[in-house]
């Protein structure tokens, strides 16, 4: 470690926030860009599975709530891209990397939303897992990221409650609704567990990220915490977690549970999930079809700036 790096690490260790213009190790910057960018992309792609049910929401109120939620997700994307921009990478650069496949987004969004109950399951489980990941990141060492996370966590927990409320309605509804609720839980349970990533034992970057306070907890810690929080919620709904090995372990004070199918996880990451192609096609199409729109706005801004400049000159 160079003296500069040591000083940086000391600041992190003291709990100081690192701010954009301050010195930081190149690895720190790169890791942050990857992590924040991936998170931003996830918010953007994450609009799609829920957007899929906006036009079919069963009541006006549910439609409004879902619209507001998807809008929030786009907003989170905006905060996060802004946080990434403070590290010297533009939103367009990040977008291009998403579209080329050079950057990833959360694999969970490669699963389809098949019934209205999925709007519940996504809010309850997917947002629940996301919050579990994000809450500690409010204390992350990079200032803009930390501040973005504080703002995002507030909204996410609201989303999670709304998702749970949908599940509640479905679980206490007609037999068909209850079946949809159980089916949604069955489909989203393991993908949600995968959201924490493979066991840290298998992850090379984790130790450094934890030292830099870019990562606060291990994947396994967070997964355990998620299971422990979620199982009683499922019980309250009267739904069964699709895991025959699930049982309370008094000794560790948490649930024992089955590992998700990690080979599925890696297949989905590789692009072979149920919706990878559709998600990416949708985003690329939105971007390509919108090129004329962005160019039009840009051209107008240029013209307006010239006009202002000309007016100023004339006035002098």
């Amino acid at each position: 470690m160079t003296p500069e790096e040591q000083a940086f690490q000391d600041r992190v260790d003291r709990g100081e926030k690192i701010e954009p213009k301050e010195w930081m190790p190149e690895g720190y910057r790169k890791t942050l860009i990857r992590q924040i960018g991936q998170h931003a992309h996830s918010e953007i792609v994450g609009q799609l599975p829920e957007g899929n049910w906006i036009t079919r929401a069963p009541t006006l109120e549910r439609k409004a709530i879902l619209l507001a939620k998807v809008q929030d997700e786009a907003g989170h994307g905006l905060y996060l891209y802004s946080a990434a921009e403070t590290l010297g990478v533009s939103r367009d650069e990040l977008t291009e990397k998403l579209h080329s496949g050079a950057m990833k987004y959360s694999s969970i969004f490669n699963y389809p939303t098949l019934t209205w109950a999925d709007m519940g399951a996504v809010g309850w489980l997917v947002d629940g897992a996301a919050i579990m990941n994000q809450v500690p990141l409010q204390r992350t060492s990079y200032g803009p990221y930390s501040r973005a996370m504080i703002r995002i966590c507030k909204e996410e927990s609201f989303h999670q409650r709304q998702g749970y409320a949908i599940m509640m309605k479905m679980a206490e509804g007609t037999p068909a609704q209850k079946e949809m609720a159980q089916d949604a839980l069955n489909r989203f349970w393991y993908p949600s567990l995968m959201m924490f990533g493979p066991s840290d034992a298998e992850s090379v970057h984790s130790a450094q990220s934890i030292a830099w306070k870019i990562k606060i907890n291990t994947n396994d810690e967070l997964r355990q915490k998620f299971v422990d929080q979620t199982v009683p919620q499922a019980e309250y709904l009267g739904l069964s977690i699709p895991d025959d090995n699930l049982r309370w372990n008094e000794e560790k004070g948490g649930y024992d549970f089955s590992e998700p199918n990690w080979s599925e996880f890696f297949e989905v990451i590789k692009g072979n999930g149920p919706c990878n192609r559709e998600r990416m096609n949708a985003r690329v199409k939105a971007w390509d079809d919108g090129a004329w729109f962005r160019e039009g706005l840009y051209a107008h801004a240029e013209k307006a700036a010239h006009r202002r400049a000309a007016a100023t000159t004339a006035a002098e």
């Binding site: 609009q47 919108g290 962005r294």
Partner: protein
């Protein structure tokens, strides 16, 4: 049906159907800011729908609430303007449709804040703030894209031409309109035309777009339930859950 109920359905249905169309953009807009703005506009319009159709249900007094009206009427019973149900097309069509609608929506809601019906005035007072913001935003985009690149100008002009035959419907008065106008509930739609034209003319001028002449043959019928072929598909999608699971609570 009584004129007041019919008129409230027209208000609510236009908001609902346009909100539906706008919401189709969620996650598919050309820039993140637009994703947000589209969701926001749709959200406002769904909010208006809840208020107008909610009041319609009360006025009708047959036990139908806003959801029952939104989800359990078929196309012949829908009363929205044709303009609102037209497909999104490209962003040019979507924005121009929004602008043409917003300019009239704002003028209408402003008048409605002075309605003799306190309920209508109250809804209008809430809705007009949002409509004012919508108009500001769609006017701004029309100007920026009209006076942008050659291509953006071409697309905006094409959108205007395509939508123009549908604008007259916003200003034609029938017996329903005459009845609510006479009752002091709402203005006669034809009274809104001058203000609308003024807004449209000035925005299009700034946008360097040509305002078309009067449409030779106006497309009308939405407000009496004669729609385009598009509405049926919108409703099949929108109403699926309520139709497939009658009586379920969500």
């Amino acid at each position: 049906a009584p004129a007041f109920f019919e008129w409230l359905c027209r208000m609510g249905d236009s908001a609902l159907v346009l909100g539906h169309r706008v919401s189709e953009w969620c996650g598919h807009a050309p820039a993140l800011e637009e994703d947000i703005a589209m969701a926001n506009t749709a959200l406002d319009l769904i909010g208006h729908t809840q208020m107008w159709l909610g009041l319609a249900g009360e006025v009708e007094d047959k036990g139908r609430d806003a959801d029952a009206l939104a989800y359990l009427r078929d196309a012949l019973q829908f009363r929205n303007l044709l303009l609102c149900e037209l497909p999104n097309g490209d962003m040019g069509v979507t924005i121009m449709r929004q602008f043409l609608f917003d300019a009239r929506h704002y003028a209408l809601l402003m008048r409605l804040t002075g309605s003799v019906s306190p309920r209508v005035a109250e809804i209008a007072a809430k809705a007009v703030k949002e409509a004012s913001y919508h108009l500001e935003r769609s006017s701004d985009l029309v100007v920026r894209l009209g006076d942008g690149t050659d291509e953006s100008q071409r697309r905006m002009q094409a959108a205007l031409g395509q939508l123009w035959p549908y604008v007259d419907e916003m200003f034609v008065a029938d017996a329903v309109d005459e009845a609510v106008a006479k009752a002091g509930i709402a203005p006669d739609p034809s009274d809104l035309k001058a203000e609308w034209e003024e807004t449209v003319r000035s925005v299009l001028a700034e946008a360097m777009l040509d305002m078309p002449g009067p449409a030779g043959f106006a497309q009308t019928g939405g407000v009496i339930g004669r729609h385009t072929e598009h509405l049926g598909y919108i409703l099949a999608e929108m109403q699926f859950l309520q139709r497939a699971y009658p009586g379920a609570r969500w």
